[in-house]
C-alpha cells in the first residue's frame, strides 16, 4: 500500500492560497518598521488590521494542520511583527507628559488619600514632637538634628548669628544656580529612595518621614526660643511647601508599595506589585519636577526677598496653587 500523492497536500494547498496575503502584510510591516505607521496610505492603513487578523487565523490553522516547521515559525514571526506594529503604542512624548500632569497625576494622588494622610501624619507628628521636646529641654536638639544638617545652628549659637542665616545673601550671585541644581539632584534622590524603602514593607518610610519631621521641629523650636519662630517659618515655607509635599508624595508611594507587599489581597504578590508598583512609580515621577521647582525657589527666591511678609504671602500663594491643582486636576477627568 502506498500513501503517494494523488491529491495535493492540505497544508500545501492552504499555503498556496494564503501566501499572497502574507507577503502583502510582510511588505507593509517592512515599511512600518523602517519609518513608522505614517508612511502607509489610507487604503493600506485600513488593510492592515484585516491582514493582521488573516495572519492570526493562518497561524492557528498552520499550527493545527501543517508540520512544516519553517512555515509555522514564519507565521508566528509575522503575527508577532504585525501585533507589535498594530499595538506599538507609539505616542508623542510631549503630549503624553502633558496629559499625565494635567489629569493622571492629580487623580493618582486623590486615589491614595489614606496612605497620603498617613505619610502627612508621620511628618507632622515628627514636627510636633520634635518641637515640643526641644522647647522643654533644648539639649535634645543635638539628638534630633544631625551635625551635617545643623550647620552652625545649635543652641550655643548667638541669636544674631541665627538671625543672619535667615537673611543671608550669598556672596557669589553666579553660584546660585549651581546650588539649586545640587539641591534638586539631592532631593530627587531622597524622594526616589523613599519609594525604594517601600520594599521593606513601608515601615522605614514612616520612620524616615518622622525623623525628618523631628529635625524640622527641633530647628523650629530653637528659633522659637530666640523669638524668631515666625521668621523661621517664613524662611522655610516658600520652598518648603513644595518640597515637603513632594517628600510626602514619595512617602505615599513607598507606603503604597509596602502595602502591596504586605497585603496583596486577592492577587498574588507579584500581580499586586505590578498594578500598585506602577502607580507608586508614577507618584514619584510626578514628584520629581516638584523637587525641581522647590530647589529653584529655595536658591533664588529666598535670597532675593528679605521681607518676612512677602515670604509669608508667597508661601500662602504656593500652597493655594498646589491645593487647586490637585483638587481641580482630579475632578476634571
Amino acid at each position: 500500500m502506498t500513501t503517494g500523492g494523488r491529491f495535493e497536500l492540505r497544508s500545501a494547498q492552504f499555503r498556496r492560497e494564503r501566501q499572497a496575503s502574507w507577503q502583502e502584510l510582510e511588505s507593509l510591516l517592512q515599511r512600518i518598521e523602517n519609518s513608522g505607521l505614517g508612511v502607509l496610505s489610507h487604503d493600506e492603513l485600513t488593510q492592515l488590521p484585516l491582514l493582521y487578523r488573516s495572519a492570526i487565523g493562518s497561524l492557528s490553522v498552520a499550527r493545527a494542520i501543517s508540520l512544516d516547521r519553517n512555515l509555522v515559525q514564519y507565521l508566528t514571526g509575522l503575527a508577532q511583527r504585525a501585533h507589535l506594529a498594530m499595538y506599538s503604542g507609539r505616542r508623542r512624548p510631549i503630549e503624553g507628559a502633558a496629559l499625565f500632569f494635567a489629569r493622571r497625576f492629580p487623580q493618582l494622588v486623590r486615589s491614595f488619600r489614606i496612605p497620603f494622610a498617613i505619610a502627612c501624619g508621620s511628618l507632622l507628628a515628627g514636627v510636633l514632637i520634635g518641637y515640643q521636646l526641644t522647647r522643654h529641654s533644648p539639649d535634645r536638639y543635638y539628638g534630633f538634628v544631625p551635625e551635617a544638617a545643623a550647620q552652625d545652628r545649635t543652641p550655643a549659637t548667638p541669636t544674631a548669628q541665627l538671625r543672619d542665616i535667615l537673611y543671608s545673601k550669598p556672596t557669589e550671585g553666579a553660584a546660585l544656580d549651581v546650588f539649586a541644581t545640587f539641591l534638586f539632584d539631592h532631593n530627587a534622590r531622597i524622594g526616589i529612595s523613599c519609594l525604594a524603602l517601600g520594599f521593606a514593607g513601608g515601615v522605614p518610610v514612616i520612620l524616615l518621614l518622622f525623623s525628618n519631621g523631628l529635625t524640622l521641629g527641633a530647628m523650629a523650636a530653637l528659633y522659637a526660643s530666640r523669638g524668631l519662630g515666625g521668621e523661621f517659618w517664613a524662611w522655610v515655607l516658600p520652598h518648603g511647601v513644595t518640597e515637603l509635599l513632594a517628600v510626602v508624595l514619595c512617602g505615599t508611594a513607598g507606603l503604597v508599595f509596602g502595602a502591596a507587599i504586605l497585603f496583596p489581597g486577592s492577587l498574588s504578590r507579584l500581580d499586586r506589585l505590578r498594578t500598585r508598583g506602577r502607580d507608586a512609580g508614577l507618584l514619584v515621577l510626578g514628584a520629581v519636577p516638584m523637587f525641581f521647582l522647590a530647589a529653584l525657589f529655595e536658591s533664588f527666591f529666598r535670597s532675593l526677598s528679605q521681607d518676612p511678609g512677602l515670604r509669608w504671602t508667597v508661601a500662602a500663594l504656593v500652597a493655594t496653587g498646589w491645593v487647586l491643582y490637585f483638587v481641580r486636576g482630579a475632578s476634571r477627568g
Binding site: M1, T3, G4, G5, R6, E8, L9, R10, S11, A12, R15, R16, Q19, Q23, I56, L59, S60, I65, S66, L67, D68, R69, N70, L71, Y74, T76, G77, A79, Q80, R81, H83, L84, Y87, S88, G89, R90, R91, R92, P93, G96, F100, R104, E172, D177, V178, A180, T181, F182, D185, I192, L195, A196, L273, R274, G277, R278, G281, L282, V284, L285
Partner: protein, 306 residues
C-alpha cells in the same frame, strides 16, 4: 534545541485571543543595547560640554556647570523613556540589536509602563556603577565591612535579572513589561513538490509503504526539513548521503540508492512522510518520535512495534 527554545519564550496572550510565543531577548543582547545607548548619552553629553565651553568660554562659567548637571540628569533619565515611548518600545540601541519592549498583558505598551520601567534605572545601572567605581566614596562614614555590605546590597539590584528565569529587571516587574527579540524567520520554499502532485502523477520514482513511513515521527520530519532547506554548503552532500544510508537501513529499503540521487530520495521521503504524518494528525494522532528497531529488507517489521 526545541526544549531550550521553549523555555526561553514569553507567551503573550493577545487581545485577539491568540498566544504568541515571543522570543525572550538574551541578556547579552540587552547588555549590548544598554552599552550602545550609554555610549550615545556619553557622546551627546561630551559634544554639549565641549560645544558650550567653546562658545561660552569665560562668560558664564558657573552657569555652564549648573546647566550641565540639569542636562545630564534629564538626559540620563529621559533618554530611555523618550525613545521607548516614541519608537514603540525601542531605544536606538535596542533598535540596532533588534530588541523591543512589550507589554506582558498583550495590549499596547502604555507610556506609563515605559516611565515606570525606566524609573528604577538609577538604582540598577548608575548606583551600582558608582559603587563599583568608588566604593569608599559612597559610604564615607561607615566602617569598611559595613560599607562592603551596603555596596553588595546596592549591586544586587543590578543583578536581579540573573536570579529569575524570565530575566526581568526590577523595572520590568513594576511596569509589567518584558524585552523580546524581533522575529526574523523568512518564508522558505515549499518542500513538497506541489505542481507534480496537482497533475495527479502517480508512480513516483521512490514510493514508500505506510509501514516504512511509520518508522519516523514529527521530530525526524523536521530535522529532515532543516537538512533539505540548506542548499549551498559544499560538505552538505556527505551529510545527505549519511542520512540517506541511515534512513535506508531503518526502513529496510531494498536497493542502495546512488549517492548522486540522495537529495531526490530524501525529498521524496520528506514529502510522503509529511503527508502520512499530517493525515494522522488530522485524525488526532500526533506521532512525535521515531519507532525503535528497523524493518527487514522489503519493508516488513522485524519485530512487532511497541
Amino acid at each position: 534545541m526545541a526544549e531550550s527554545a521553549a523555555a526561553r519564550t514569553v507567551d503573550v496572550l493577545t487581545t485577539d485571543g491568540t498566544v504568541l510565543p515571543f522570543e525572550q531577548a538574551p541578556l547579552f543582547n540587552r547588555l549590548g543595547a544598554l552599552c550602545v545607548d550609554q555610549l550615545i548619552i556619553l557622546v551627546v553629553t561630551g559634544i554639549i560640554v565641549i560645544g558650550s565651553l567653546l562658545l561660552l568660554a569665560g562668560t558664564l562659567g558657573a552657569h555652564v556647570l549648573s546647566l550641565m548637571i540639569v542636562f545630564n540628569f534629564v538626559l540620563r533619565n529621559a533618554y530611555f523613556s523618550f525613545f521607548e515611548v516614541r519608537g514603540g518600545g525601542a531605544t536606538p540601541g535596542k533598535h540596532w540589536l533588534r530588541l523591543r519592549v512589550i507589554s506582558r498583558d498583550g495590549g499596547a505598551l502604555q507610556p506609563e509602563q515605559v516611565l515606570v520601567r525606566n524609573l528604577t534605572r538609577e538604582f540598577e545601572v548608575f548606583v551600582p556603577m558608582s559603587v563599583l567605581a568608588a566604593p569608599q566614596v559612597m559610604f564615607p562614614d561607615l566602617p569598611p565591612w559595613a560599607g562592603a555590605l551596603c555596596s553588595l546590597w546596592l549591586v544586587v539590584g543590578a543583578l536581579f535579572p540573573l536570579f529569575n528565569p524570565r530575566r526581568f529587571r526590577l523595572g520590568d516587574l513594576l511596569g509589567g513589561t518584558t524585552v523580546v527579540s524581533m522575529p526574523r524567520t523568512a518564508l522558505g520554499s515549499e518542500l513538497v513538490d506541489a505542481p507534480a502532485e496537482r497533475r495527479g502523477v502517480t508512480g513516483h520514482e521512490f514510493e514508500f509503504t505506510s509501514a516504512q513511513l511509520g518508522q519516523y515521527g514529527i521530530d525526524q520530519l523536521q530535522v529532515l526539513e532543516d537538512l533539505l532547506r540548506v542548499h549551498d554548503a559544499f560538505e552538505h552532500q556527505e551529510t545527505l548521503v549519511a542520512v540517506l544510508r541511515r534512513v535506508e537501513a531503518k526502513i529496510g529499503w531494498d536497493t542502495p540508492t546512488p549517492e548522486g540521487r540522495a537529495r531526490k530520495f530524501l525529498a521524496a521521503f520528506y514529502a510522503q512522510l509529511r503527508r502520512h504524518l499530517e493525515q494522522k494528525a488530522l485524525f488526532g494522532v500526533r506521532q512525535q518520535h521515531k519507532r525503535e528497531g528497523r524493518l527487514e529488507r522489503g519493508g516488513s517489521p522485524s519485530e512487532p512495534p511497541r
